[in-house]
Amino acid sequence: MSANGKPKIAFFDFTSCEGCQLTVVDSLQDHPELLSAVEIVQFREAMSEKGEDYQIAFVEGSCTRQSDEARLKAIRQQASIVIALGTCAHLAGVNALKALHPLEEVRKYVYGDKWEWYETYDARPIEAVIPVDFAIPGCPIDRNEFIAVVKALLLGKKPPIPDYPVCVECRLKENVCMYTKGKVCLGPVTRAGCGAICPTYGSSCEACRGFITNPNQDSMKDVLAEAGLSVEDITAIYTMFTTYQVREKLLQKG
């Protein structure tokens, strides 16, 4: 705690688009009261001041190279609470797509004969490197959920992250089901909390928030197959944000 009794908060970013930190900035536009309840000591994208004394660390981005692990471990050592901010940190997100091709091919495709200059390994969620206390899912995170999580933490409560599928929220929005429109959608197996924003704007759920704890994936695959999709199509849909999760599951089974 700082002298004024406010918890000190720091934001860090690894491999990501920094869109979740921008969403944090946008959330604070509507909730300036939070700024008086906490003290932000580090937020490189928005401020020059840099404090190393913090209790709560929000980490955006995946770990995609060995040399970033030390920085992550230092954050873990300092912070009492580490929160994975958004899909890249939580699940490795789109960064894990490169794991679908041999790593050397990926490196040569982008960097040609200089490919060895660029250090990289398979993208992983930060939990693969350090223990994580909580995750705020989503690509990007949902503004309201971020505010709810911060408020819960300030009250010493567990952050309210749902463990039921997007379909629940989609029904509440009175959306026409994407399957009724002849489209496929990962809402039935994906964690809610986004307000079903993609189906609400006419686009299928792409599972950016990851799967719920007990998704019925086999049944989901049957539904997708009934919709006339090939194994390749199904794999494409399932892997946009969840390549890491899907591969981990296969490895566990295998």
Binding site: M47, S48, L97, G202
Partner: protein, 427 residues
């Protein structure tokens, strides 16, 4: 006089970059802008993905210019597959694009640049010292975000844009309310011009080759030829003739150059190349800011962004009025005409010319992808600017010299997360 300035990492920019400058006995020895962001490999990640996923994947290159990446991506697929957008789709694409220009420019000029002139480390202390300025910035940023959200669901990352059109359509009542809010925002826009016209911009001139898109009848943000201030004009498909990339052994980045040692993209390049097509009110703002092309002070890139805030506000009002007059009808995305195909999509995102180039196979999957990012095109020019700027500031005390160098970097509004797919990591 010997000095070494190292800034790890420059703050109030998007992504991780370092400044390294060494002056020995009054002579500039080292001058680098290092990029230490992790490489991201987006082009390889697109391989084998269905084309309709590409805009949702590539918007994740950047949280700030997500709409710009999605737009360039969609144009690449649409050109590859012979898709012709409806007039309504064009209006909606342009409208949400303006929303992103406004969002990004307001963020940059108020929250990233202004603190340097007001002697503080971030926008947070300004809440107490300049509450009217901060509240205005927040109001303008919220409006820009809401404009994007009305059309595509959210600014980062847009949902409702798809190959051939849209999957969601704003209601007339939403358009009417947004029109009124934009009209009401004119006083904030005017106050912005006023504020930035009074800032003591550093004196610095270095002419370079300014590169932007160009269209005959509008200030180009989506599609158009690639035009340079040295008189080169090529269609997008021949982008490599202008953006030809090269490697240098001392540097972290693939660089670009065309006619000269370096080139510059972004708001200042657009202003210089397309001034005539700015909205009349934007030209008035330019006069208040003391700008007339050709402007060769790099620091005024931020002022050119202020001019574009005026332009995008006025053009958004015009587009919304057109949509209100003609009505908005839900429509299916325009069909693809042929497959396979290859296409180049171009857009002027907040930081400059963005190019997506895809080849799409018979099965609808991407077989080749290339993205050329504005910040990547600018880093070579930034280093040349730094070399010209250091001799002017090296007599100053180190903290002031460091700030002067950081301000030059921030003037480019670099977006490093975007650029790293072509940058070498140096340690």
């Amino acid at each position: 006089m010997s000095k070494r300035i190292e800034v790890h990492h420059v703050t109030r920019v998007e992504g991780h970059g370092n400044i390294v400058v060494e002056v020995e006995n009054g002579e500039l020895k080292t001058c680098r802008f290092e990029v230490v962001e992790t490489p991201r490999f987006f082009e390889a990640m697109l391989l084998g993905r269905p084309y309709h996923e590409a805009s949702h994947i590539t918007s994740r290159i950047c949280g700030i210019c997500a709409t710009g990446h999605a737009t360039a991506s969609l144009r690449a697929s649409e050109k590859a597959l012979g898709v012709e957008l409806s007039e309504q789709s064009w209006l909606l694409r342009k409208l949400t694009f303006h929303g992103e220009i406004l969002d990004s420019h307001v963020l940059h000029v108020y929250m990233l640049v202004a603190p340097d002139f007001l002697g503080v480390g971030s926008v947070i202390p300004l809440v107490n010292s300049h509450p009217d300025v901060v509240l205005r910035a927040l109001r303008m940023k919220k409006l820009a975000g809401d404009l994007c959200a009305m059309v595509t669901g959210r600014h980062t990352h847009p949902i409702a844009m798809t190959v051939g059109g849209f999957t969601h359509f704003p209601k007339m009542s939403e358009l009417e309310a947004m029109r009124q809010r934009l009209i009401d925002s004119r006083k904030d826009v005017e106050a912005t011009v006023e504020l930035f016209s009074k800032l003591p911009w550093p004196e610095f001139e270095r002419d370079t080759e300014y590169v932007s898109l160009s269209k005959p009848d509008e200030y180009a943000f989506i599609d158009g030829d690639i035009l340079t201030s040295d008189g080169v004009r090529v269609p997008p498909e021949r982008y490599k003739e202008v953006t030809n990339e090269f490697m240098v052994s001392h540097s972290t980045a693939k660089f670009t150059r065309n006619k000269r040692e370096s080139l510059m993209v972004g708001a200042l390049a657009r202003f210089n190349n397309n001034y005539d097509l700015l909205h009349p009110k934007a030209k008035e703002a330019a006069a208040v800011l003391g700008m007339k092309p050709k402007v060769t002070n790099t620091f005024l890139n931020s002022a050119a962004q202020v001019v574009e805030i005026v332009h995008s506000t006025e053009d958004s009002i015009r587009i919304i009025e057109e949509l209100l007059n003609r009505g908005v009808q839900p429509e299916e995305p325009a069909p693809i005409k042929h497959i396979p195909g290859e296409g180049v999509g171009v857009a002027e995102v907040p930081r400059g010319l963005l190019i997506h180039h895809y080849a799409i196979g018979e099965d609808g999957r991407i077989t080749a992808a290339n993205c050329i990012i504005p910040t990547n095109q600018n880093i070579n020019n930034l280093e040349h600017d730094m070399r010209a700027w250091v001799p002017k500031v090296m007599h100053k005390p180190e903290p002031q010299m460091q700030l002067d160098l950081e301000m030059l970097v921030r003037a480019y509004d670099p977006c490093i997360s975007c650029s790293v797919h072509v940058l070498k990591v140096q340690r």
